[in-house]
Every structure is written in C-alpha cells, then in structure tokens.
C-alpha cells in the first residue's frame, strides 16, 4: 500500500484538465510531473511506519477482539482504511500549490476553531478520559484538536512569513499577531483539557518562531515563560489526575497498581523484548493485555516487546528519516512560508514522537499523545498525513523556478 499509487485518481479536476491531452503514462513520467518531484525517502519513511504500525495495532487488538467474540481484524481493517483516506488527504494537501494555501488558511483555521468549540458544546464527548471528541453518526469520531495542529502550522507560517518592506524576518508586531492567532485554539484545547496537545502546540510555536528568524528575545522569552508556567502555574491548574501522573512518573513505586501501573507494565513489555523481541503476536505482555490503550498511546510497547530492539530501533530510525527529510525540505524551501510549514511539521512530529516513546520508556510522564503514523486513530492519522502532504507540497515546488 503506497499512497502515491492512488494519486492519479485523486488528482483534482483542475489539474487534470490542464494535462487533458497527455496520456496517463506520459503524464506520470513528465519532467514537470509532481510524481517526479516527490521526496521518495519521505514516502519510504512514512510507508514503513504505517506498515509497521498496522501490524502493531493488529497484534495489540486481535487477541482481545477474539476473546470478545468480535472480528480479530476489525482494528487492522479500520486502521488501513484510515491510512488510505489519510493518503488521499495527503495527496490533496500535496497537489494544491502551497502558495495558494494562504487563501485556504483562514478557512482551515475557522473550521478548526469551530470544531474545538463543538467539543466543548454538548456535541463533544469523552473517550478514554479525554474530552476531545465529537461523535458523528455511523460510529465515526473526530478529534478536532488533531486538525487544529495543521491549522496552527499553516496559520503561523503564513503570519510569520509575510515579509513587509523588504524585511525577511518577522517584526514584533508579526510575532504578537501570530501568538494571538494561536491563543484561541490553544485556549479551547486547554479547556477540554488536553494538556499534551497544548504542549505540542507550544513547541510548534517555538520552532516556527525560531526558524522564522524572529528576534531572539521572543524565542528565549517564550521558552522562559513556558518553563515558568510549567513550574509555577501548572500545579494549580492541573487536575488531580494529571498531577498523579506526574507523581507516578517521578516515583513509579508510589502506587504499583494505580497510576504507575501502566508505565511499569509498558517498561516490562519493552524490557522483556530484548534484542530481537518475542516475535509478532507472541508478546506475553501484549497478548495478555497487561497494557491498557496499547493500540493507541502505548503502541510502541508492542514493537518493543514483539520486535525487540531491532524493531523498536527501526521505528525510531524511520521517524528520524521522516524528520531528516522534513528538515531537509525546510532548508531547501524557496520561500519562508514553505520553510516555516516544514519546520512546524518537524517540530510537531519530533516533539510528539519523543513524548510518546519517552512515556513508554519511562523517561517522560504519561500525557496521552499518540505516536505519529503508528497509533490507532483516524483523526491523528489524517492530520499526520496531511502534514506529510504539506511537506511533499513544499518539496515538489522547491525547484519549480
């Protein structure tokens, strides 16, 4: 399943019209064809992650589904469908010239904020302890905060890349504008409350701001403000549950059956995997369902246990490949907007991957952030693949002149 096989069929009509006279084959091989400009290493990385992720989700759910008398492949199927839809969304995101994205940015932004508002309205519902969902008819659920990340990356890039009067770095007023632009969705996400996503957005802001060339006082100031907020304000606004998670992180022996139980079981799974793992579908911790939410937030433990250091290390290296390509695309981008979009996506993926894997390895607190491309969950998969589409978009157009 490679996402790009599907590209010709999902090409928007306007693009297809332009090249009506050429055959499909000629079009695909044309020097000007987007296919020739795709970053195939990025494709390879993402495809590898999604493939491994599908196996991990399958392994984590099949025994449980089977014992409940349900289709053991149900999660696998839904995961693949999510990935296929995500690839379609990525293709759209890749093929619209990103420079025209600026026109769509406000729409995406407004839609995200409306979605986040809907979560707080009676339409929202709580799943697995997080009040971040809108339940749609026919059993679909949407997590608007995932899409909000896309909106923030694009919006920030747009606001900070507007060069005025020949300046190539944002002024204070641009920074302030950008920050106030982010304030509304962040505030809405904190009200859910979804601390993890909020922190991801903070790091996206920091990264984009830094790469935009904004004055250092802003970058350092924001970093300092973040640290102060974390140290002073957080204990007062965090819920008891969140505080327990941090306490359990600091000292896992506090309550082995309670909050620390998950992380202890996760570490047991990964540690017992050893060098080469116990084999797919043969992890005792995984198949014995000792780790809750394993197909979502703790999916990395399946790899650690069943595929060992080899498999889990390969995931980290594949994530590294994706981030490397993202940084590469950022550095080659022809304009600040493309660069900032790529930098924002890199910060998003890097921080979220680090927090998620660090949580399963016991070096980060439990925050409920999914692992990009691997965790089960449609909204996150869609948002991640749209972000990859944006990276490809920037890559395809970096040498178009």
């Amino acid at each position: 399943m490679t996402e790009w096989e599907l590209t010709p069929r999902t090409v928007p009509k306007s693009v297809a019209h332009r090249r009506r006279e050429a055959s499909l084959r000629q079009r695909a091989l044309d020097r000007e064809s987007p296919l020739r400009r795709i970053d195939w290493l990025l494709v390879l990385g993402v495809t590898g992650l999604i493939t491994i992720g599908s196996l991990l989700v399958w392994s984590a759910t099949r025994a449980r589904m089977e014992s409940a008398g349900l289709d053991p492949q149900a999660f696998l199927k839904k995961h693949i469908i999510n990935a296929v839809i995500g690839v379609g969304l990525a293709s759209v995101a890749a093929l619209i010239d990103y420079r025209s994205l600026r026109a769509y940015a406000p729409i995406v932004y407004v839609a995200s904020c409306l979605g986040l508002l809907a979560v707080l309205s009676p339409l929202g519902s709580t799943i697995n302890g997080a009040h971040s969902w809108i339940v749609l008819p026919a059993g679909f659920q949407v997590q608007p905060s995932e899409f909000a990340k896309v909106a923030i990356v694009v919006g920030l890039a747009m606001l900070l890349s507007e060069t005025r009067d020949g300046e190539d770095t944002p002024r204070d007023i641009d920074v302030l504008l950008a920050l106030s632009f982010c304030a509304l969705p962040m505030g809405l996400i904190m009200l859910q409350p979804d601390l993890g996503t909020t922190v991801v957005i903070v790091f996206i802001i920091l990264g984009v701001l830094a790469v935009s060339g904004a004055p250092s006082r802003w970058v350092i100031g924001l970093l300092a403000a973040g640290v102060v907020a974390g140290a002073v304000v957080a204990p007062h606004i965090l819920s008891t549950y969140q505080k327990d998670r941090f306490a359990a992180f600091a000292n896992p022996a506090v309550d082995p059956r309670g909050v620390g139980y998950n992380t202890r079981q996760a570490r047991t799974a990964i540690g017992s995997g050893g060098l080469t793992g116990k084999g797919l579908f043969h992890g005792t911790q995984t198949q014995g369902r000792f780790i809750p939410e394993q197909q979502t937030d703790f999916v990395f433990t399946v790899a650690g246990e069943e595929l060992g250091l080899v498999g889990a290390g390969a995931i980290i290296l594949l994530l590294g490949l994706v981030l490397w390509r993202g940084l590469h695309i950022a550095s080659l981008a022809l304009d600040p907007f493309g660069r900032l979009v790529a930098a924002g996506v890199v910060c998003w993926f890097a921080f979220q991957s680090f927090v998620n894997i660090g949580m399963t390895l016991g070096i980060m607190p439990v925050t409920g952030l999914p692992l990009p491309f691997l965790s089960y969950g449609g909204s996150a998969m869609f948002a991640n693949l749209i972000a990859v589409g944006l990276l490809q978009n920037v890559h395809m157009r970096n040498s178009e002149l």
Binding site: G213, T268, G271, S272, F290, A330
Partner: protein, 733 residues
C-alpha cells in the same frame, strides 16, 4: 533564507538528533542492559501454576488389609483475592456464604486472612486463626462428607448460584479416612499443613497446599506416600483468564505402604491393653491404704523376635486420627496433650521412659556373668542387703536362702542382684570416678540397646537413660548449679532438699546405692517399652539387636516397583549363647508354679511362654507394672511386653494382658487364632492391575515388580536463604 533562520534550523536539527539518540539509548538500556529483570517480571506476570494434588498412598497391614484410605469430601474454599476484588470488598459474598454454611461472615474473613498480615479490624493475624498457605490459594472454609446427600446441600447451592458466590468454590478433595477408627493411631500418625517455618525446607520444596505427614509412619514415609503433585503452568492475561498452557506434568500417585502389623492382632492388643488398664483400676493398693490404682497410661509392644518387625504396638490412652482430617481445633489439641488426661497424642510405647524394674534382670544376669560371677553358682537371697548405713529390701521382705540364677529370676529375688551389682561396683573402682572404669553393668545395658534410641521407623523414639560413672560426672558438671540452688531454696529436711544437698556436693559420685539400684532396673535407669521389647527379642533370637520396623515395604501405585523396608541389625550381644539359653530357660519358670507370673498364666500350656515380671517403684507414685515375655519359649517367635504405670505388680496387671495376646496369636483359651499358622506373612501383598491390593500370595497374572532399595529422605535440612513466600504463585483447580 536569512542567516539567523538557517542557524536556528541547524539548532533544530541538532535537537532532533539528540532527542532520537536519547530514545535509542534508553531503548538499549531497557532491552539489553536491564532486559533480564524485565523478562522475569513479564514471566511472573503471566504464568500461574496450578497444582493437581497426587493421591496419597494408602496404608495396609501385612495381609493387605486397608488401615488408612482416602475418601473424598466436598470442600468449600474461598479465593481471597477474587472476593476482595468485589465492589463491596467481598462483604456481600462472605455474608451469603456464611448464611449457607452456617459460619459467621466475620469468622470466614478471619480464616482466609493470610497469616502475618492484618484482619479487617487492623489487628495482626495470628495462627491458627489465619491462612498459612499461599495468599493466592483458595482457603478451605468448610468440609462436608461427599457420601451424605444432606451434607452436600450447601455445596450444591453454591454451585447452582455461582454468580452469587464469586471466588467461592465447592469441589471434591481427597482426605484421609480411617476405617478402623483409632486403630494404631500412634503408629500411623496424621496429616497437617506445612507450617510457616518449614516453607524453605527442601523436603517440602514445591508444596504449598498439600498436607504432610505429622508423627507416625505418615511422617517417616511422607515423601514416598505423597507422590508427586502435577503442576500446570498456565498462561494468563491480566484478568487471570487462561490463554494457554506452558508446561504440564501429570500427578504421580504416592506409593502404598505395607506395614508389618496385623490389623487383627493390633486390635486385640489395643483391647487387651484397655481391659488390662480397666482391671488394674479395679484393684486396690494395699501398701498405700487401699486406694485404687490409677493406671493412667500403658503400652504393649508385640515384636517378631527373629526379624525385629512390629506385629502390634499399642499405647494407652489413644485418639482417633480422623479428628485431624478437617483441621484440629485448639481445644481438641489441648485435650490431646493434657497430661491430666494421659496425653493421648503421646506414644507411650516409644516415647515414654520408665524404670524397667526386675525385667532388667536379664541384663544384670548377663552382666554379672560377664563380670566373673558363675552362671551355675549359688547366691544368698536374704530379705535385706546393707550398704553402709543404707538397707535394700526384697519385695515384701521375702527370703529364699541360697539360690541359683534360675530361682533368683523366677522368684525375682532382688538381694541376689543387689550384692552382684555392689560387688561389681567395688570391682570397677567404687566411688573413684576417673571416667575410665570398666562399668560392666551399664555397658551390658547399652549392649542390650538401653540408653539410646531404638532406631524404629517412627519419629518419636526416646533414648531412655543408663547411668554410669562418666554420665554422673558429666551430668554433675552441667547441673551442679541447679542442685546447689535447690539445696538452699527448698525447705530444710524435705526429701527433695536432701537429694539436692547431696547432689550439690556428691552428685558426681557413682555411689554404691546407684549400682545396687541399677542391678534391679531402678534408680537412674529408664527405658521405653519398645527398648525393653527389643532387648528381650535379642535375648530370644540368640543375640541380634534390631532397630525395629513398623513398615514392611512400599509398593508403587502401578505395582511395577517394590521397595522392601528391612529392619536394621543394630548390634550383636557379646553374651555367650550358653548364658542366653540359661536365662531363656529360667524365664519359662516365671509363668509356671512358683513363678511371679504363675497366677496370671494358670491353666496356660506350660512352657509356652517365658517372661519376666517387673514392678518398679516410682517416688511418690504407685509402682509401674511390667511383663516382658517371649513365646514359644523353646523356639521364640514373638516378644510381648506390657507396661502399666501406677498399676501394681507386673505379674498381676501386665502379665494377663500378654496372656490375652498370646491367646490371640496361638488360638488358645477359646480364642480364634488371628495369624495363619501362628506367623505373620513373610510375603508382601500384591498390586492388582486395577491398582487395588491383594493379600500376599495372590495371583494377579502380572510380572513380578522390580525391587528397589529404600532410600530414606533426610529428616533435618539446612535452612534456606530464601525468604518465606518467595516462590511462584500457585492456585489449585
């Protein structure tokens, strides 16, 4: 791109690389460096061991009659970990269960609390009101007979409404059953759970649920009887649901134990002892103002003289071992060990030590001859023998003139032996105590097996006491502080004060009085009835001293293997055959006219039974009556020793008991002969194809079993370094 922007992109790149490196480093730490620890944790997480108990071997008499069987009972057990996981902490389940089985919920909650933790009220849990097994093991709270349909009602209610009783199980379990009730209780022993302090004992390795043998052959042959429990290592998920089997071993039934006993003879022996005790209690003690004899305890040993096998052995009072089957109450245990009630748990025959009195004269005769006295000589039998200012009397002041050993034994003349003992004492060095004297009398006593455990295959085996110069010196060195303190503390002139005062200054001294008393089995001579029986067996069989055996063989459950358990030869008497023959011959006179047991054996075939009476004085108590005998006198096959405490003379109270037993063995006095041909079977019972046991000599058509030598398991073991409960979790099916 601005240079600032490029630089920051570079910083971002470095940050990304360091983040990934951190994750990889931590991953390496968990999966390579610390992997072993997590592998063990994962293993512990998901493997549960389920023990399938092996059926314990049954116990048979020498003819293959069942003495101990297994029966099934309905046991209602509570799994505490499941009950406590209930929303109300299990209160509802325990209340419902209490209503069904008729036990208050509070009591159930206490019984299932692991020992060493805390009860619901916060008080520490203490044995016996707590659970001593694995905390993951269901705790039995009530046992019902599986045979009685009325009794199984509560169990059925629980089984029918399982949803109302989460964590409660009702299942059939094997328990010991004694078809003959208290028969041979002291020999058989009973079963009890493994105590906390034994958890690390290697001989109980891997056992957390099973009961193990306590006392009797159940303890001695516990390892073979127990078999090997089957263990299933089940893979479970986090809710304890079984997802597979990792390893499974099937239970191996324990070996059947064949005893050398004859159940019929054992029953007769116990009845004869009980009747003898009852008769003794009817008699009055004319030396002590006509009060009735108390006769609180007694014992009888019937030994095969030429093999050292126990044919029957009884201790009075006894108990029914089935009271241990459902767990012993503290009150019942107190009764069993109460000295005022004769301590029924105590095996008088092997554990009780008593002065053997005149039965000891076989030793004294052998010793006197060994010391130089003539076997055919004549010795004076005055009514009293003086040593210094002390005088030693004959029983009831009798006097028989000058007599030979034969008459001295038949009439039980003490003064002959006083003088022989005294002369030997003088010859051995008198009061000089260098620790290197010849000690002819004590040495002979040791050769006859006194002063050391009999080596019988039972856990309770007292050594008794033989005193000589060296013992006195060692004992005085150890005890003189106590003696001297007693001499000061006790009222001046009282019996014990005088004794203590003497012991304080002269306790090291082996006095003439000690030697004189020793010669008639009094004073510092103590023996168990079993010790006396094997000494008489040595006399009867020509000088072989056996470590007696209750067990005869172990038969594997499938009948393919047999492990004979032969009595051990512990020593050979260096007494000349001539002397032994003389004594045997002399003892035939004891049961005949003029002998001390003549009245009790009146009308009995003359010369069939040879024996020696004994009436041992005990300070402050009525005398102990003994009769030690063997028969047929000309070609001895059985030794029968009877002993009754505080019961009067041996000839009048102990000898009738032995007569009743000989009646049974040989079919005399109108009794039916209990043993075919008057002998115990020499062959072993055989195992049929269906696992049941057939009498010796039966044809089963199966190949002869393989003979395997007996290897006893060590009884003591070094303490393990492992802390208690540090073993795999187990549950039972």
């Amino acid at each position: 791109m601005s240079t600032r922007s490029g630089l920051r992109l570079f910083v971002l790149r470095v940050l990304v690389i360091s983040v990934l490196a951190t994750l990889l480093g931590r991953l390496w730490y968990l999966q390579v460096y610390a992997s072993a620890r997590y592998t063990k944790a994962a293993q512990d997480n998901r493997v549960r061991e389920v023990v399938q108990p092996a059926p314990r071997g049954m116990i048979y008499d020498s003819s293959g009659r069942r003495i101990v069987e297994n029966r099934t009972v309905m046991v209602i057990s509570v799994n505490r970990s499941i009950v406590r996981a209930e929303r109300d902490g299990g209160a509802g389940v325990l209340a419902r269960l209490g209503g069904v089985i008729g036990v208050p919920a509070v009591d159930i909650a206490r019984v299932i609390t692991p020992c060493g933790s805390r009860y619901a009220d916060g008080k520490p849990s203490r044995a016996p009101d707590c659970w001593n097994g694995s905390p993951y093991q269901p705790v039995p709270v009530k046992t019902y007979s599986a045979e009685d349909p009325r009794q199984t009602q509560p169990a059925l209610r629980i089984l029918e409404h399982k949803e109302d009783f989460p964590g409660v199980t009702a299942e059939l379990q094997p328990v010991r059953y004694y078809p003959d009730g208290p028969l041979a209780a002291h020999l058989l022993g009973y079963l009890g759970p493994i105590r906390d302090d034994e958890r690390n004992d290697p001989k109980y390795a891997g056992l957390t649920t099973a009961k193990v043998g306590r006392s009797g052959v159940e303890q001695t042959y516990d390892d073979a009887l127990r078999g090997r429990d089957g263990v299933q290592q089940l893979l479970v998920d986090k809710d304890g649901n079984v997802t597979g089997v990792q390893k499974s071993t099937t239970p191996q039934a324990g070996d059947a134990l064949v005893l050398s006993l004859d159940a019929g003879l054992q029953r007769l022996t116990e009845q004869a002892l009980a009747r003898g005790i009852a008769n003794a209690r009817l008699r009055t003690d004319r030396n002590r103002g006509g009060i009735h004899y108390k006769a609180p305890t007694g014992a009888v040993v019937v030994l095969e003289a030429r093999t050292g096998r126990i044919a029957a052995m009884a201790s009075y009072p006894s108990y029914d071992p089935s009271i241990f089957t459902n767990g012993l109450t503290a009150k019942a245990f107190k009764t069993l060990t109460d000295p005022a009630k004769g301590a029924p748990l105590y095996a008088t025959a092997t554990q009780g030590t008593f002065a053997p009195g005149s039965t000891f004269k076989i030793v004294s005769t052998s010793a006197a001859v060994a010391g130089g006295a003539s076997l055919n000589g004549y010795y004076g039998c005055p009514s009293v023998f003086h040593v210094g200012n002390r005088s030693f009397h004959n029983f009831e002041g009798e006097t028989f003139g000058t007599i030979d050993f034969r008459t001295a034994l038949i009439r039980s003349c003490d003064t002959v032996y006083y003088k022989l003992g005294y002369d030997q004492w003088v010859h051995d060095g008198g009061t000089k105590n260098t620790g290197h004297a010849r000690e002819v009398f004590p040495r002979m006593a040791r050769m006859f097996g006194f002063g050391s455990p009999s080596g019988i295959d039972l856990p309770s085996d007292s050594s008794g006491l033989i005193t000589d110069r060296k013992y006195k010196l060692d004992n005085w060195n150890a005890m003189k502080k106590d003696y001297c303190a007693g001499a000061k503390r006790r009222p001046k002139g009282s019996f014990l004060q005088v004794l203590d005062a003497e012991a304080c200054t002269d306790g090291w001294r082996y006095n003439a009085g000690d030697a004189v008393n020793f010669a008639i089995g009094q004073g510092d001579v103590l023996a168990t009835p079993l010790q006396l029986a094997r000494a008489y067996a040595a006399l009867a069989n020509g000088g072989t001293l056996y470590a007696p055996r209750v067990a005869k063989a172990l038969l594997s459950a499938d009948g393919t293997r047999v492990t004979p358990i032969p009595p051990k030869v512990q020593g050979k008497l260096t007494v000349s055959p001539e002397v032994l023959a003389y004594i045997r011959s002399a003892l035939t006179g004891v049961t005949q006219k003029g002998g001390t047991a003549a009245l009790s054996y009146a009308g009995f075939p003359p010369g069939l039974v040879a024996g020696k009476t004994g009436t041992a004085d005990v300070h402050g108590k009525q005398p102990t009556g003994w009769f030690a005998s063997f028969a047929p006198a000309s070609n001895p096959r059985y030794v029968v020793v009877a002993m009754l405490t505080e019961a009067g003379t041996g000839g009048s109270v102990a000898a009738p008991i032995t007569r009743e037993i000989y009646d049974g063995i040989f079919g005399l006095d109108g009794h039916k002969a209990l043993l075919r041909g008057g002998v115990l079977p020499s062959r072993l019972p055989v195992v049929r194809a269906d696992g049941t046991i057939a009498p010796p000599g039966s044809h089963t058509g199966r190949p002869a079993p393989r003979v395997v030598p007996f290897r006893p398991t060590p009884t003591s073991s070094p303490a393990s370094a492992l802390p208690p409960f540090d073993r795999p979790r187990r549950t039972t099916t």
